[in-house]
Amino acid sequence: MPSFLTPDFGLLFWMLIAFLVVFGILAKFGFPAIINMVEERKKFIDESLQSAREANEKLANIKAESDAILKEARQQQSQILKDATAMRDKIIREAKDKAASEGNRILEDARLQIEAERDKAKRQSREEVADLSIKIASQVIARNLQQDEEQVAWIDRMLDELTATKQSQQ
């Protein structure tokens, strides 16, 4: 057999030692360092992707939530405005009603007073008329019943005067 086809013992011996040395050292210190780091990096990237996805989802949720809150706030705002308008209208109406009733009352009071005043004035004028009548009557009586014609004319004149004053009064 040609020499290049027969394994040399010496080379085999050294190969055994060299390969075991390199295998032992690389298996312990060489490959694990590289492989572990790559796998950890892979895990880290996976986790990062996962958390990014979660963050995106959370962000979308937050947006929806804020939209909902905004919507609710807007609803509340319009509700409040509506309530306020209603309240204002109510207050105004009540004020108006109150003012109207107050005015009516005042008017009524005034009317009553006026009426009272008028009654009083009427009463007074009546008393005066009565007084005057009595005076006139007494004067007439005093002027005596001497001159009938004269008397009648005088009474007529008196009555005319009275009527005139009455008319002017009215």
Binding site: D8, G10, L12, W14, F31
Partner: protein
């Protein structure tokens, strides 16, 4: 475009210059020196040696002497291989190198026999260079990772390439073929084998000192690697694996009176790693042999005549460049194939039963 044309012209010029080099060499060798023996040259360059030959100037060999460690009839002996060439008859302390370059001695009857030899030969030195480089490369990478956290940037440059290669072998070869359950256990061996073979192949392509030895093209190295795979396969073989060998699922008459199938299967246990051993050895050995042969073509054609030499040399140089690129590819492919097949063999042995089980369940 202009740059490209310039580049092409420059390359062509270089090739022509390289083609002219042999003429100078021939001129130096003028005067009827020895004929070029291609077979001898190829064997010299591809086989192991006790010194590391660098070059020959004017018939003087320049080489790095390496230590010889042998156990002869006189006990253990350690000396530099240059002692052989220094002594007049090439014999030192009764030891000499035979025509294969192995250390031999003669017994009392004058018969040549080899001695127990654990010398630091060219291949052993290359082996330790590969081991040192592997350790430097991977411990440097491991050191680079030491103070890094997973959230730091991925490595760039050299560490990045190593990481890419490691993860390629780890994910696409080991994990794929061994399955989720077993891959962690065998990954260190397979990765070590891959990078050992790959780096040895690459260093084998460098023609001068720190590389150039034909390490993975040496049968002892591939024998050892194949033996490792075989041991791992059979030691970790599942019950199902052994049942498939001694009592495979075939008609009974193939196994009862004459156990034809079990014999074939048992034979397969040894042929699989044998194929691993021969494939790697033959590919790398062949690559080296072709590269050296193509170099020899230049010298041979120049010996036959200047015109022939001038015509053939550029073609040969072109082929050599092509071969070198091809060998670069082969360096990777053979490392990959060895690792993948080892992984497949181990995978088939360790997980045989579970697959069938899972198939049954899925039915």
């Amino acid at each position: 475009m202009k740059q490209r044309i310039k580049h092409t012209i420059l390359t062509l010029g270089m090739v022509c210059l390289m083609a002219l080099v042999p003429f100078r060499v021939m001129a130096a060798h003028e005067g009827g020196q020895e004929e070029i023996n291609v077979q001898e040259l190829v064997m010299e360059h591809t086989s192991d040696a006790h010194d590391w030959h660098i070059t020959t100037i004017n018939g003087r060999h320049i080489s790095i002497p390496l230590p010889v460690i042998v156990k002869s009839s006189q006990g253990w002996q350690v000396f530099m291989s240059s002692r052989f060439s220094e002594s007049a008859d090439g014999v030192y302390r009764g030891l000499y190198l035979n025509e294969d370059g192995k250390v031999c001695e003669k017994n009392a009857a004058g018969e040549e026999h080899r001695v127990l030899d654990i010398s630091i030969t060219k291949n052993v030195l290359q082996l330790w260079i590969v081991v040192t480089l592997l350790l430097v490369i991977f411990l440097y990478c491991a050191h680079w990772y030491k103070n890094k956290r997973p959230e730091d940037d991925a490595p760039r440059g050299f560490v990045g390439i190593i990481e890419m290669l490691v993860m390629f072998v780890y994910n696409d070869v080991i994990k794929e073929t061994l399955g989720e359950k077993h891959y962690r256990k065998f990954a260190p061996y397979l990765l070590t084998a891959f990078f050992f073979i790959f780096l040895s192949n690459l260093l084998g392509l460098i023609p001068i000192f720190p590389g150039g030895a034909n390490l993975t093209g040496n049968i002892a190295i591939t024998f050892f690697l194949a033996l490792c795979t075989m041991l791992l396969t059979n030691i970790n073989g599942s019950k199902h694996y052994w049942k498939d060998i001694f009592w495979p699922d075939v008609p009974w008459w193939l196994k009862v009176p004459i156990p034809i199938m079990p014999i074939i299967e048992l034979f397969g246990v040894f042929t699989k790693p044998f194929a691993l051993m021969v494939r790697l050895f033959a590919n790398i050995f062949g690559g080296h042999a072709v590269a050296i042969s193509l170099t020899c073509v230049i010298f041979i054609t120049c010996q036959m005549g200047v015109a022939k030499g001038a015509f053939i040399s550029p073609i040969s140089v072109f082929l050599m460049i092509f071969m070198d690129f091809l060998e670069l590819l082969v360096a990777f492919i053979q490392a990959f194939v060895f690792t993948m097949l080892s992984s497949v063999f181990i995978g088939l042995a360790v997980q045989g039963g579970e697959e069938e089980h899972s198939v049954e369940i899925s039915k």
